[in-house]
Symmetry: C2
Subunit: 153 residues, 2 copies
DNA sequence: GCCATTAGTGCAATTGTGTTGCAATATTCG
DNA sequence: CGAATATTGCAACACAATTGCACTAATGGC
């Protein structure tokens, strides 16, 4: 499943200078192999049975990956955090899409520059986040009879 | 506290055509009187003692206000939802600021147009959200000795 | 104004995601 | 190898939000 990403993950973890542990490598490999942002539960589900990583450890590893710039975290409307490997494709700042039905999150390429906004005096800007909300392909009500089953919920 | 807003709130609730109830009026009045987006807990705390609205009802009323376009909901990084009355000032789409320390959310005027983004085929855009993250005036580490106590947490 | 209809509410229990404390384990470095 | 200590596993916890259901009250017709 994420087997071919393990080498990459090991290298990435080693590059931080911190200890290289199985949970860190396996979780990052799962993120590398993912086509979209994953929730904690999804990461856990995608870990190979043999990996056996504790729930709490997965939480801590995900946090650690974000702190070490190996992943980024997206806070969704549904109170669930989703994580993406910080790959080359999405190295810089970029926009996100979130499905308002199933919660799916994907990274987007950004066309123009982000608009400037004026903050009240004393406020300090750190980061600008642009999120498109809408329906993913799986959640758009089909005009023609549906062939695929609705994914989650 | 929110006494002078009650009339406005009554009118707004009535305008939806749905039943006018004390919880709806009181909660909306609290939002009208607020200078920033409020969490459920903050709304509850600002309701006059005499109002006596159940916790769950406050949740349901807030949701109802959003569905009826009398308020809008902002999902923060801290997994807490915040609500703002949909006043004239912030009738249209606008950006938000969220403090990454205390979680405070305020509405912002937007300067330029929102940048266009291209969605994958089959995806449908509903809404664009722009959020500035940073530190609010109360949370910016003071260069000069602090006089005001750190607000919340 | 009274009453029937039913939308809205209160209360208790429950869910779901994420956190904390602490003892046990495993990585790294000399 | 063995010490130092970063990381993990486990259990308990925190807390916003949701659900089920019986009870209450707003509304509209009479
Ligand atoms: Mn991303
Ligand atoms: Mn707003
Ligand atoms: Zn979807
Ligand atoms: Zn703040």
């Amino acid at each position: 499943m994420a087997t071919d990403k393990i080498g990459l993950a090991e290298e990435a973890v080693r590059s931080t200078g911190a200890r290289m542990t199985r949970p860190r490598v396996m979780v990052l490999a799962v993120l590398f192999a993912a086509e979209r942002a994953l929730t904690h539960a999804e990461v856990e589900a995608r870990l190979p049975r043999a990996a056996e990583v504790d729930r709490v450890t997965v939480y801590r590893v995900l946090e650690w990956l974000v702190d070490n710039h190996l992943a980024h975290k997206i806070a969704g409307d549904d109170r669930v955090r989703r994580f993406n490997a910080a790959s080359h494709a999405h190295a810089g700042p970029h926009a996100h899409f979130q499905c308002s039905d199933c919660g799916e999150v994907i990274c987007l390429e950004e066309a123009g520059a982000k608009p400037a906004v004026k903050l009240p005096v004393g406020y300090k800007q750190q980061q600008v986040e642009l999120t498109i909300k809408g329906l993913c392909a799986g959640c758009v009500p089909a005009s023609k009879p549906r062939t695929v089953a609705r994914h989650h919920h």
